[in-house]
């Protein structure tokens, strides 16, 4: 299986050097289109998205995360650092299980 990066230009550049393919996204529409395409690709096992890219299409990302077993989506901080508004997994877990982490 493959990985795919969806992020800003610098991040995609970096990952390309490391040998991981990716797409640069600059607008939510573009992000949505690319995201849907990548999700459809059966060979993609993990999608790596920067916080900023993931936030622009938050709903779609959440839907895939919870309704589909593949691909796994992981958000990473971009060059600008972790996003303050990232909806953390910790919150979701507190809601669902009542465990504070």
């Amino acid at each position: 299986m493959r990985y795919h990066v969806i992020a800003d230009g610098d991040t995609v550049l970096g990952f390309k050097y490391a040998g991981i393919d990716g797409d640069v996204v600059e607008s939510p529409q573009q992000a949505r289109r690319i995201f849907q395409e990548v999700v459809k690709d059966q060979d993609v096992g993990v999608i790596i998205m920067t916080d900023r890219a993931a936030e622009t299409i938050g709903e779609e990302v959440t839907r895939i995360l919870y309704e589909s077993r593949r691909p796994v989506i992981v958000s990473i901080p971009g060059p600008e650092g972790p996003s303050a508004t990232r909806r953390s997994l910790a919150e979701l877990i507190r809601e669902a299980v009542g465990v504070k982490i």
Partner: protein, 217 residues
């Protein structure tokens, strides 16, 4: 409460069901405890991995921003088109406590520096090497997140079943058993009384018959 026929058979059947439900409840509760313990450990691992990536990765990515500025656009683009995917991903599945979780493994394939060293600035090499070091950590993060997500589902499901048994099924069975045994007791009492009455009557009749016979003599 459902309509039940108050018979001894039914009572035995209900008692058996109660025993099964109680046993099942205990088993599920143990499973839930086990899941929660396991979950707490995974949460700890996750927090650590998340912190590492959140703190370290932006610094690495900044190096690329820098490289993008300092080197010519041409060189960067050539480098990108020349570098092919040298990492592949193996996904296997593991199970614990009835939960299927993914396990990822990274493969670095040969021919790592696919871009021309002459065109690319040397900072890029360092940045690339550091990013590659980070990559397994990002993957571990993905794996932990997915594991947590699947475990949360299983925990919820198990908890619902434990609660259903504890608060609905077991109490209902208890009420039914009580109802049947009360009914049976009542039937027994009324049977005894009927028998006593019949006996009384028969004794009376016999006495009357005897007295009548004595009067004849």
């Amino acid at each position: 409460m459902k309509r039940v026929v108050p018979t001894r058979m039914e009572l035995l059947r209900m008692r058996k069901r109660l025993a099964t439900a109680t046993h099942g409840h205990k088993l599920l509760k143990d499973k839930l405890d086990g899941l929660m313990n396991e979950f707490r450990e995974i949460v700890e691992d996750y927090k650590k991995a998340r912190r590492e990536v959140d703190e370290g990765l932006p610094e690495v990515l900044k190096l690329f921003v820098l490289a993008g500025i300092t080197s010519s656009r041409q060189a960067v683009e050539t480098a990108i088109t020349q570098s092919s995917s040298s990492l592949s991903l193996d996904v296997t599945q593991a199970r614990f406590m009835g939960v299927v979780v993914p396990k990822f493994a990274v493969h670095f394939e040969a021919g790592e520096t696919t871009y021309s060293l002459l065109d690319a600035p040397s900072e890029l090499d360092d940045a690339t090497a550091t990013l590659k070091e980070y990559f397994p950590r990002i993957l571990q993060l993905a794996q932990l997140e997915e594991t947590m997500r699947r475990m949360v589902d299983e925990i919820e499901r198990t908890r619902r079943r434990v609660n259903a048994l504890e608060h609905v099924m077991i109490p209902e069975l208890r009420v039914t058993i009580k109802y049947i045994s009360n009914k049976l007791d009542e039937q027994e009492r009324s049977t005894t009384i009927r028998l006593m009455k019949i006996k009384d009557q028969r004794v009376k009749e016999e006495r009357a018959a005897r007295e009548a016979a004595m009067a004849k003599h």
